[in-house]
Symmetry: C2
Subunit: 358 residues, 2 copies
């Protein structure tokens, strides 16, 4: 049984047009290698890594697979420190630190790094087959250097406007990230209020607007979703949440447990964890902070201020303060090793293709 | 060429499993008849009608088609008048009335009626083949009376929670309304913040949770969307916005013009027009009122207070104050007569089924 298209598989050098989403803080060399070895595209979310950590993670992954791998970076604006916002965030967070006996709220320090010349050097040295960006693209000379080596370039778009911009700027394929997607929204040109199109709306409008292959992301969690994405005109899919309950995913056990009992109406988009809109399972922290999201420091500064809270909450087996990143299709999640899950996804999708749409 | 399933077509007595959404204030006997005559299910949105107007509209529709028709009612709680909120709304709206030279802001009067015994009597007399509800179901005895006559009962669900509730209460099929959908969100059990699952997420989770046929709604605007909905496990689709640019749709010309030049990131969900969350193209009124949505009277009381504004704005060919209801797939809209559009939709969807998913 073959896939109905090889437009994207040829471009990426993979067998099945299914990308495991790079999820900074959750993807691991073991997860990426398992997916690449199964014939998909395994990915590493590297936005929180220094160049040294990045090199080391790629090394570990390469020992586990000789297939193509995909690394992702963020291209956000470096944040402006804001003492007033930091003080306000400390005030808001202090009661939780007291409740959990964690001492003082730590200062705001950047944890996610916009892609820069140092990281470019590491990328050019290590040469992953595919590089992608979230929150738009970095400066043109960085992009050109990546493309000149023959590395395939992808980037997320959350609107037609962004997809058209990315095509102009030379990406090889567009990742159309629908409203359903877990984690950070990749929005960078459209407003956050406008760029909320569901995958069912976003994918065909992006397909009509660009000539590039379109990778559908958001709400795709089983073979039905994969087949639906192809019906909409996508050439491939990117799936994140579905892989979070694999044993290879690097998230706390409590996060996995909560994912496995959550469903469609349990997620929210919040700025409270990082300073940028991101989707996760609603918990005490998201609810409490809903009215204060705009008072917090810029992305990603608030991240270090909530770090000990998130860690302590997870260590106690409670989800109250953990960033429980999740997409809206979480009700379809399965707890399987990544390779096994991947085989099932391929079988399910191909069964829809073979037996027709019922 | 036949459809891959007849589960829903048998139930509804139609040829193609495509329902034109009943849109109170936009659907017309001509639109409903054109769709039913083309082999789909034509629908009338009757929530703003008295029993007499309802009987007359059904009469007009029946003269134009002898195929099944579908009527929709709202099952919201009757609003509690609130003098303070009415005064506040008047203050907020007065500057616009002055700007447009429209005199005083009119009082708040209910324009949409919760389904009741009087309307039940009219329904039982006229016997449309299919009756559906939005905002949940009316009381059990009203439902039983409808079902006892053999009328097929549908209702919208915006979450798995709601779909499961509707199955227990005896509906014959569930309309899974995804986040992409234009007009009013049918949410009645889940929170408005939670019940925002995109169609890609909502449909398979609802399909897994109920035994009933599931009708996918939200973001479906061409054959690709129809095929995708079937891939997700739906037995049929309901499409609203796609029919709004048909000549038979009863909306102002300016509304049609704006739809034809809008796309994925141009819509917002707002409570500012009616008092309940509904999706439309963002305009001056939605933007201005964004900060005041919770100060307005309950659904549907605010409707009469904005009526002259909406009318005058449309008459002047300006969209500033018009309720420009629209789903997120508006970029796929086509200006065609309803019968012609319907034929195209069937051809497009069947082409995906026949030629495989590319």
């Amino acid at each position: 049984v073959t896939w109905p298209t090889t437009k994207l598989t040829d471009l990426l050098g993979i067998e099945h047009p299914i990308i495991q989403a790079p999820m900074a803080g959750a993807s691991t060399p073991a997860l990426a290698a398992a997916v690449s070895n199964a014939g998909g595209l395994g990915s590493l979310g590297c936005a929180m890594q220094t160049a040294d950590v990045f090199r080391s993670e790629i090394g570990t992954t390469r020992k586990a697979t000789n297939r193509p791998i995909h690394v992702n970076f963020f291209a956000h604006e470096a944040p402006s420190p804001d003492a007033a916002k930091e003080t306000r965030a400390s005030e808001l967070l202090a009661p939780y630190y007291e409740e959990l006996g964690l001492g003082d709220v730590p200062p705001a320090v950047a944890t996610h790094f916009p892609f820069d010349a140092t990281m470019l050097e590491a990328v050019l040295a290590v040469r992953p087959q595919i590089v992608s960006f979230h929150f738009g693209l970095p400066d043109e000379e960085l992009i050109r250097a990546i493309k000149d080596t023959g590395i395939i370039l992808l980037c997320s778009a959350t609107s037609v406007r962004e997809a058209v911009d990315l095509e102009k700027r030379g990406v090889d394929a567009v990742i159309a990230q629908g409203w359903e997607a877990g984690g950070h929204r990749g929005t960078y040109l459209s407003s956050f209020e406008g760029a909320r199109a569901g995958t069912m709306s976003l994918v065909p409008q992006v397909v009509d607007a660009v000539k590039l292959p379109v990778i559908a992301a958001g709400g795709i969690a089983d073979g039905r979703g994969i087949a639906a994405a192809f019906a909409l005109g996508a050439s491939g899919v990117q799936m994140g949440t579905a892989f979070l309950t694999c044993e290879e995913a690097g998230i706390p056990d409590i996060h996995k447990e909560i994912l496995l009992k959550s469903r469609d109406d349990d997620t929210r988009v919040t700025k409270a964890f990082s300073g940028r809109p991101a989707r996760g399972i609603v918990n005490r922290y998201i609810e409490d902070m809903a009215a204060h999201e705009d008072e917090l420091p810029d992305f990603p500064l608030v991240n270090t201020m909530t770090g000990p809270l998130r860690k302590a909450s997870a260590a106690r087996g409670k989800g109250d303060f953990v960033a429980l990143w999740s997409g809206q299709s979480v009700g379809l999640n399965r707890a399987l090793p990544a390779g096994e899950l991947f085989e099932k996804l391929v079988e399910e999708a191909q069964s829809v293709f073979q037996h027709g749409i019922k």
